[in-house]
C-alpha cells in the first residue's frame, strides 16, 4: 500500500458500479438509487474485510493522508455555528492548534484541536499541525474558560507531535504540555477526546487527557513516531514499517490495552472518502456522551477521570491505591 489509498477491492467495486451506471444511463433506465443502495450494502462487508487486512503501517499512512479531514472540517460539519477564538493572552496565536466555541443541537461546546493543512501551502502555514507552546497555552485558556462557564470540551487530536525547534524550547514546550496534563486531569467539565489521525507523543497527549478517548479506525497513537522508534531501537530509520508493526499503535491495540474507550469506523479507503459520514459518527458519540456526563456532578466526574489515569501502567508488585485516592479527594476542597 505505497499509494496511500490504493485498494484493489474498493477499486474493483467502484469500477463495476461505474460500468453498471453507465450502461443504465445509456439505456435511459433510472437505476441510480437502486445501484447506490446495493453499493452501500457492500460497504460494511468491505469495511470488515479491510479492517482486518489493514496493517499498522497502512494505518500510519492513512492517518497521515493529506486529504484526511482535520479538526476544523469536522467541527464545521458538526456544528450549527462555530466561532474560532485565538491566542494564549501571553505570547501569540498558534495556527497549528485551533479552538473555539461551537453549538451542536443548541448545546454550547468548547472545541480544541491540532490542525494540519489540506495542501502544502496550508500545511506550511499551519506548521504541519505541530504546535508551539502558545498553542497548548491557548488550548488551556479555552478549556479553563469552558470550565468557568460549565461548558463541556471536545478535543480533536491530529499531530505528529509538538514542534521540535528552538522557538518551541525557548518558550517551554515541556512546561506547556506538562501544565495541560495537570490541568486537564482535574477540569470540572466533561472532556471528550477523539484521535482523528496521528496521535504523536506529548504533542497529542497535551490536549488528550479527558473522560473518554476515542480513535478513528485508522488513527494511530504512539509515544514516538515509527521512524523515531526505528532509528533509536532498531538502529535503522528506514525500518519504520517494521517499527509500526511492533509498536502496538492501532486503535485495536489501544482498545485491548483499555487505553481508549471505543473505535469509530471509517468508510472504505479511509475517513477522507466520506468525511460527512465520519462527522456524523463523531457527532452521535458527542451527543450521547455529553447527555450522560453533563448530568454528573463535577467532583464525581474528576474522580472517575483521575481513577482511570491513575490505573494505567503494567508492572509487577502493584499495591491497592483506591482508598488513598478517595482519601485525597475527601481532603481536597479545591476539586468540589
Amino acid at each position: 500500500m505505497n499509494e496511500q489509498d490504493k485498494n484493489p477491492q474498493k477499486d474493483q467495486i467502484d469500477k463495476l458500479f461505474g460500468e453498471l451506471e453507465q450502461l443504465a444511463q445509456q439505456q435511459q433506465m433510472d437505476l441510480g438509487s437502486d445501484l447506490s443502495t446495493l453499493k452501500a450494502k457492500m460497504v460494511p462487508v468491505l469495511k470488515n474485510r479491510e479492517t482486518t487486512a489493514c496493517s499498522p503501517w497502512d494505518k500510519v499512512c492513512l492517518a497521515r493522508h493529506v486529504q484526511r479531514p482535520g479538526s476544523l472540517e469536522y467541527i464545521n460539519m458538526m456544528c450549527d455555528d462555530f466561532m474560532e477564538l485565538h491566542g494564549d493572552r501571553c505570547y501569540g496565536d498558534d495556527t497549528a492548534l485551533i479552538g473555539g466555541i461551537g453549538t451542536i443541537d443548541g448545546r454550547a461546546i468548547t472545541f480544541i484541536g491540532n490542525q494540519k493543512g489540506s495542501n502544502l501551502k496550508e500545511n506550511i502555514a499551519r506548521n504541519h499541525g505541530m504546535g508551539h507552546p502558545e498553542g497548548y497555552r491557548k488550548a488551556l485558556r479555552l478549556v479553563q474558560q469552558a470550565e468557568k462557564f460549565n461548558r463541556p470540551v471536545v478535543s480533536f487530536i491530529d499531530t505528529s507531535g509538538a514542534y521540535p525547534g528552538l522557538a518551541s524550547e525557548e518558550r517551554g514546550i515541556g512546561e506547556a504540555i506538562a501544565r495541560n496534563l495537570k490541568e486537564f486531569s482535574v477540569l470540572k467539565v466533561p472532556v471528550l477526546c477523539f484521535i482523528i489521525g496521528e496521535g504523536g507523543s506529548g504533542g497529542a497527549l497535551g490536549i488528550g487527557v479527558g473522560d473518554k478517548l476515542y480513535m478513528l479506525e485508522n488513527a494511530v497513537y504512539s509515544v514516538i513516531s515509527p521512524e523515531g522508534f526505528a532509528s533509536i531501537l532498531l538502529r535503522d530509520s528506514s525500518k519504520a514499517e517494521e517499527a509500526a508493526n511492533t509498536m502496538k499503535i492501532t486503535a485495536e491495540d489501544l482498545k485491548e490495552f483499555g487505553i481508549i474507550h471505543d473505535i469509530i469506523p471509517e468508510p472504505v479507503g479511509g475517513a477522507h472518502k466520506d468525511p460527512q459520514l465520519v462527522a456524523s459518527h463523531i457527532k452521535k458519540i458527542i451527543t450521547r456522551d455529553l447527555d450522560i456526563l453533563c448530568s454528573k456532578p463535577a467532583d464525581r466526574l474528576v474522580r472517575y477521570r483521575i481513577k482511570k489515569i491513575r490505573g494505567i501502567g503494567h508492572f509487577n508488585g502493584a499495591q491497592s491505591w483506591w482508598d488513598q485516592l478517595l482519601n485525597i479527594f475527601q481532603l481536597t476542597r479545591a476539586l468540589k
Binding site: A162, P164, G165, L166, S168, E169, R171, G172, I173, G174, E175, I177, A178, R179, L181, K182, E183, S185, V186, S201, G202, L205, G206, V209, Y221, S222, V223, I224, G228, F229, I232, L233, T246, M247, K248, I249, D253, L254, F257, I259, I306, I309, R310, I312, G313, H314, F315, N316, G317, A318, Q319, W321, Q324, L325, N327, I328, L331, T332, R333, L335
Partner: protein
Amino acid sequence: MRDSKKEHYASFDDVDTKKIVTCPSCSSSIHRKRLEDELYVCPECGYHFKLTPAERIAQIADQNTFEEFAADLTSRNPIALKGYEAKVSQNQRDSDLKDAVVVGTCTIDGQETVMGIMSFQFMGGSMGSVVGEKITQALLQGADTNTPVILFTASGGARMQEGIFSLMQMAKTASAAALLEATATPLFIVLTHPTTGGVTASFAMLGDVIIAEPRALIGFAGPRVIEGTIGQQLPKDFQTAEFQQKRGFVDAIVHRKELRRTLSFLLSAHAKRGR
C-alpha cells in the same frame, strides 16, 4: 523519547569503579575521595557529576532517616517487545537498582518530606510504568499526608520500549501533581543533568519551586533531534539550566553545596502554621 542509551554510555559519570576519575567536562583527573568530599562536584570546573540515588540521599536527607517505599515494583513487558526483559535485567544488575527511580520518606533538618530520586544510570532514567507508578505514589503520599514532596529528576524521556504505556505515565504523574496541588501541599523539583523528553513535559515542570543544578541539560526535544529534523542552528547555552532560568522556567540554580540548605529553607518556609 530520546536516544538515552547513547548519551548514557557517552557521558555517564561512573564514579564508583575507579580510584581516579576523569571529569567529563574539563578532563581533570580527580581522586575519588576528593570528589566525594566535594559532593561530586569537579573542583576544577564545577561540573556536577551524576549521582546515584544513594549518594543523593546521603547528601540531602538526615542520616538514617530515609525509608524507601514501593521498592519491590519491577517492569513487565506490556507491548511484548523482544529483548526488553533482558535489557531491564542487565540494567538492574549494572545499577543495583530495580528501576530508574527510588522513592521514600525522610527528614531534612528534622522536617518530614517525601523524596524521589531518579537515576540516569538505569536505562537513561527513562520513564516506564514503574517510574510513573513510583513518582505517582510519592506525589499521592504527599497529598494524603500533607507532606512536602521533593523530586530529583534525571531522564532521557519516556521509556519507548513500553509503547503507549510510557506516554501515559506523563498524564499519570501530572494528574498526581494536580492532586498534590489541590491539597495545597508543596512540590519542589530539583532538575539534574540531564532532564529531557517526557519527564520534562510532565512532573518535572510542575514544581511550586523548580531548582536546577548548574549547567544541567534541561529540555523537551534533544538538540540532536532539533538540529537533525529542523536543521536549526542552536545557541551555545541551549537547554542548559542557565538558559532555562533566563527563559523563565527555573526558579533558582543552586550549587550542590547549597542544595541541602536551600531545600531545608523551602521546607521551613512552607511549613504549616497559623498564617
